[in-house]
């Protein structure tokens, strides 16, 4: 074996109206084969109506070690949520 087939990430839309969701990954020589394999591996029981495949090396991921800088600043911004605001009891729907 010269080298491994590249790794692909598989995203499946389970029905129209819903977003594509990450289902898993697989190896394939090219994009067409990745789609065919994804169909066999991840949609054997009508799990999807649409498949996206993207070569794993093209995904840029955040580093969990930076989670504090990235995500903690949102924690104390309660004013971004509707429950932060005081309304009179008479207002039922807002």
């Amino acid at each position: 074996m010269k080298k491994e087939w590249p790794l692909w990430e598989v995203f499946v839309r389970s029905k129209n109206g819903l977003e594509h969701r990450h289902f898993g990954s697989l190896h394939a020589a090219d994009a067409e084969m990745a789609l065919e394999n994804a169909r066999d591996v991840y949609t054997r029981r009508n799990e999807g109506v649409s498949i996206w495949v993207v070569e794993s090396k093209n995904i840029t991921a955040s580093n969990p070690e930076h989670n504090a800088e990235l995500f903690e600043p949102a924690q104390d911004k309660v004013y971004r949520h509707p429950t932060f605001y005081d309304l009179p009891d008479e207002i039922k729907h807002m």
Binding site: E4, W5, S25, H27, R44, R45
Partner: protein
């Protein structure tokens, strides 16, 4: 990193697991956690694909179209389950080729049950009913394990696998209701697969030194003996219902513990098969390695073709 730093990272890591947080591939993890998971998950993946071998032989010999499509779908599922698990294992930083290499050289193990032969059609019933039944008990316990990709693969696998056990039980049931010869065939399959199925839960708790660590990491939620007991308690009534006898003369209901007492497993046989001296160890690996080697030119050709097409596309763009 200093030893003190590692120790504090390890403590934080254990605390996350204790809080039922999941660990994801890019998170920091102790080296032992990574290694143990690669070992257990790849062993699980190998078991799925080696498990295709004893059954695959019966696809063309299935007694009816109904049985044939079911068995074909089951074996295809097992290939799929192997792929979910290999992909999940690769997130820990090991390649598919390395994993196969470990399987083919005998460095990695797979479930010993697949080193027993499937001699008759009734064995396909017993495998679905007992072997998949035992596997499901192990796997349900793993749906809540701490490593995210493993837990997610387990959830998918458990959802898909319940039909495997049902189709096996249905085969056994039909044979048990058939002619005396058919019933004898079903009983014979149960006789041969009962004890190896009990062995699928691994060594007795007293001989399982990794249990404590595995429980901490939620790689195990119950001990080997607890899961084995659960399997016995659930399977005995299923055998009785269809008029088959569990081949264990010491099997007896114990009112006080609310479960069955059972005879001792032949642990010598267990270790013999684990060490590679089971009835089919060599045959299984030979089939697996030859499939891999004979497929090499196809894999290489597919890649060469893809690269060539990619190049053409690039040249056109220029």
């Amino acid at each position: 990193m200093s030893e003190a730093q590692i120790k504090s990272l390890e403590e934080e890591f254990e605390a996350r697991i204790a809080r039922d947080e999941k660990i994801e591939p890019k998170d920091w993890m102790p080296e032992k956690y990574r290694k143990t998971h690669i070992r257990q998950m790849s062993q699980h993946a190998h078991s799925e694909i080696v498990g295709m071998l004893p059954e695959g032989n019966w696809i063309s010999r299935a007694p009816s179209l109904r049985r044939k499509v079911a068995l074909l779908a089951k074996v295809q599922d097992e290939g799929g389950h192997g792929l979910y698990l290999y992909s999940a294992t690769e997130t820990l930083g090991i390649t598919r080729d390395e994993l196969f290499e470990q399987l083919h050289t005998g460095k990695a193990k797979y479930s010993s049950i697949f080193n027993y032969p499937a001699l008759t059609w009734a064995d396909i019933g017993a495998i679905g009913w007992l072997v998949d039944g035992a596997a499901i008990i192990n796997q349900v316990a793993l749906c809540g394990t701490s490593f995210g990709p493993y837990a997610r693969a387990m959830v998918r696998i458990c959802k898909e696998e319940s039909f495997h056990q049902r189709q096996g039980y249905e085969i056994t049931l039909k044979l048990a209701q058939g002619t005396p010869e058919q019933k004898a065939m079903a009983q014979d399959a149960l006789n041969r697969f009962w004890w190896p199925s009990l062995m699928m839960f691994g060594p007795a708790d007293a001989d399982s030194p990794n249990t404590e660590q595995s429980m901490k990491w939620k790689l195990k939620r119950k001990t080997n003996d607890e899961l084995r007991q659960q399997f016995i308690d659930q399977t005995v009534p299923q055998a009785e219902l269809i008029g088959l006898t569990i081949p264990d003369p010491e099997l007896k209901w114990n009112e006080e513990k609310g479960g069955y007492d059972s005879g001792e497993i032949d642990w010598d046989e267990f270790w013999q098969v684990v060490k590679g001296h089971g009835p089919c160890n060599k045959e299984r690996m030979k089939a697996r390695v030859s499939a891999w080697e004979n497929g090499e030119w196809v894999r290489d050709a597919a890649l060469a073709h893809a690269e060539k097409r990619q190049e053409k596309k690039l040249n056109k763009a220029v």
